[in-house]
């Protein structure tokens, strides 16, 4: 239900250098149940509080693009964590009966696959970070995210885009945003998750996963999982992951490291989704 009061406020303001009561730490972040701090040298500090407030203290030299890049990356994942939404490292498209996710680590090819599917007429739900919850009926639900696809110059060019006409994600990187039609702002039931796993062996293989192996495959793709490790939200995420395993198809997609197999992969995925 649309409401006049926004769910999340994003503002510029002062952000401390350290959190006083952090229970979880990484190299660049500190977190407690309702508080999170991220520091990106040369860009700024991001604080997320109570699942509804993001404060950014930007460094003078930071470009607007990169300020946004780290807002809609790690910071957004932390916001989802605080809100009890499981942030998966994945791309998502609309399917006939809901949403289909392509999860995988950086370099697994999910953004390139997403862009290829968009060129075949699929509509984007999100790239890079996909939020998941469970509805009252125990169904996993996919929440729309940012429909901008991040592509390296060569992948963009291969898909027919002219990089010189695209916006860079950061001035220092040859990585660009590609846009496509959005599936809209309505949450959709999850139909399937394909976990992209580059492997040191030739050929593309689809393997249906169930039980513990499906659970681990999903769990491993949780974005910045250390933020909630040992905190109450981790339990909620385990419930969400279990719902995915019980109610959606989970498939491992193994494909060779480094080899160019996009066309074959897209054809296989399209057949699966028909």
């Amino acid at each position: 239900v649309p409401s006049a009061r926004p769910d999340v406020t994003v503002k510029y303001g002062a952000v401390p250098e350290r959190l006083e009561r952090a229970s979880n730490r990484g190299t660049r972040f500190e977190a407690a149940t309702t508080d999170f701090l991220l520091s990106v040298d040369g860009v700024g500090r991001y604080r997320v509080e109570n699942g509804n407030t993001i404060t950014i203290e930007r460094e003078a030299q930071a470009s607007e693009q990169e300020t946004r890049l780290f807002l809609f990356g790690t910071t957004w994942s932390a916001l989802l964590h605080q809100r009890g939404i499981l942030p998966l490292h994945a791309a998502a498209v609309e399917s006939r009966s809901g949403a289909v996710l392509f999860a995988g680590r950086s370099g697994s090819g999910k953004s390139t696959l997403l862009a290829a599917l968009v060129s075949r007429g699929f509509r984007i739900i999100a790239d890079d970070i996909v939020g998941l919850t469970v509805d009252d009926g125990g169904r996993p639900i996919v929440h729309p995210g940012f429909p901008g696809i991040k592509l390296w110059a060569d992948a963009a060019a291969r898909l027919g885009y002219d990089p010189s006409t695209l916006q860079r994600v950061r001035p220092q990187l040859q990585k660009y945003y590609v846009h496509g039609p959005s599936a809209g702002s309505t949450p959709l039931p999850l139909e399937a998750v394909y976990v992209l796993q580059p492997e040191p062996r030739p050929g593309i293989a689809f393997e249906a996963l169930a039980g513990a192996s499906a659970f681990d495959a999903i769990n491993n793709e949780t974005r910045v999982a250390r933020v909630v490790k040992g905190l109450p939200m981790q339990v909620r995420h385990l419930t969400t992951t279990a719902a995915v395993v019980n109610r959606a198809r989970v498939t491992a997609v193994r494909r060779p490291v480094g080899a160019f197999t996009l066309d074959e992969l897209v054809a296989r995925v399209e057949r699966e989704l028909q």
Partner: protein, 287 residues
């Protein structure tokens, strides 16, 4: 409390994984069931996923310089969270990042084991591993400031790493790091495994149980590792073949031409001589 990390540093294809297999068997005491995909010393210090998870930032959104600036803290977090001494495999050369801080900080370092292998054999093994020609492999070993996994647009499972030339790599750890380094020759792992692996365990400041080590060495025999790879696969294997291929000393003699040998020995003469790989101008595979 002493710092926990013992770096298992080597140029690729120099016996690092063999040492990890022996350590895995030795430390876990399950001699006949070495899981190649869960070896001690892993994941490698340059594993992209480990960096992303510990850092919180996605390395694919970072420049190479930023990654290097954040790497030392990654090992500090690991050191703070893990019990006791632990080994960590690394193929990077020892070096400083753009802020002048060592990528592999002394503060978390208990010691380093530097594994060295005759570059004539490394060239052959590296060529097979990367599916490149012997000439290309020699070019890599001879190239000053050589980098691997450095493609930004195709992020591999590892972060960009500077190997340097083979000689640069050796000197970076043995001479420049200032860390307590135990040098272990691959050829000695073959010729005198018990004494050699004893030095590896002792590098962690641990007392050695001789019987247990003997068991571990037997269960990590090359033929056993090959069997495990055939039966269960190995995540570090190349796409086109096996990781554990020959594991021999001196296989260069059958593969390299005199011109190849001259190209390698010419570039690495002094380091080869220093570690016993050249005698009277003639490179030898073993002493």
């Amino acid at each position: 409390v002493s710092a926990p990390i013992v770096w298992l540093a080597s140029y690729p294809k120099s016996g690092n994984t063999w040492i990890r297999a022996v350590l895995t068997s030795y430390l876990r005491g399950a001699p006949h069931d070495i899981d190649l995909n869960d070896l001690e010393g892993g994941p490698i210090a340059s594993a992209r996923h480990t960096f992303d998870e510990l850092c919180g930032l996605d390395s694919a959104d970072l420049t190479r310089e930023e990654i290097d600036v954040y790497r030392p803290a990654m090992y500090e977090v690991m050191a703070a969270e893990r019990e006791g001494p632990f080994w960590l495999k690394v193929h990077d050369a020892y070096r400083l990042n753009a802020r002048g801080k060592p990528i592999f900080p002394a503060e978390v370092t208990r010691g380093a084991v530097y594994i060295i292998r005759n570059p004539l054999d490394v060239v052959v093994s590296w060529a097979h591993h990367r599916a490149i020609s012997i000439d290309a492999s020699i070019e890599a070993l001879n190239q000053h400031d050589h980098d691997v996994d450095s493609s930004l647009s195709h992020p591999s499972r590892q972060l960009p790493q500077r190997l340097g030339s083979w000689s640069q790599h050796v000197r970076s750890w043995v001479d420049d790091s200032g860390l307590p380094v135990v040098v272990v020759r691959y050829e000695d792992m073959h010729a005198n495994p018990h004494a050699t692996f004893t030095r590896v365990v002792e590098a962690a400041g641990m007392a050695v149980d001789a019987d247990r080590l003997a068991d571990a060495i037997r269960s990590a025999a090359f033929s056993r590792l090959q069997e495990r790879e055939r039966a269960h696969g190995f995540s570090e294997a190349p796409a086109h073949g096996r990781f554990f291929r020959q594991g021999q000393v001196g296989s260069w003699r059958a593969c390299l031409t005199p011109a190849h040998v001259r190209a390698i020995a010419g570039a690495h003469q002094s380091v080869m001589a220093r570690f016993g790989y050249v005698t009277g101008g003639e490179p030898l595979a073993d002493r």
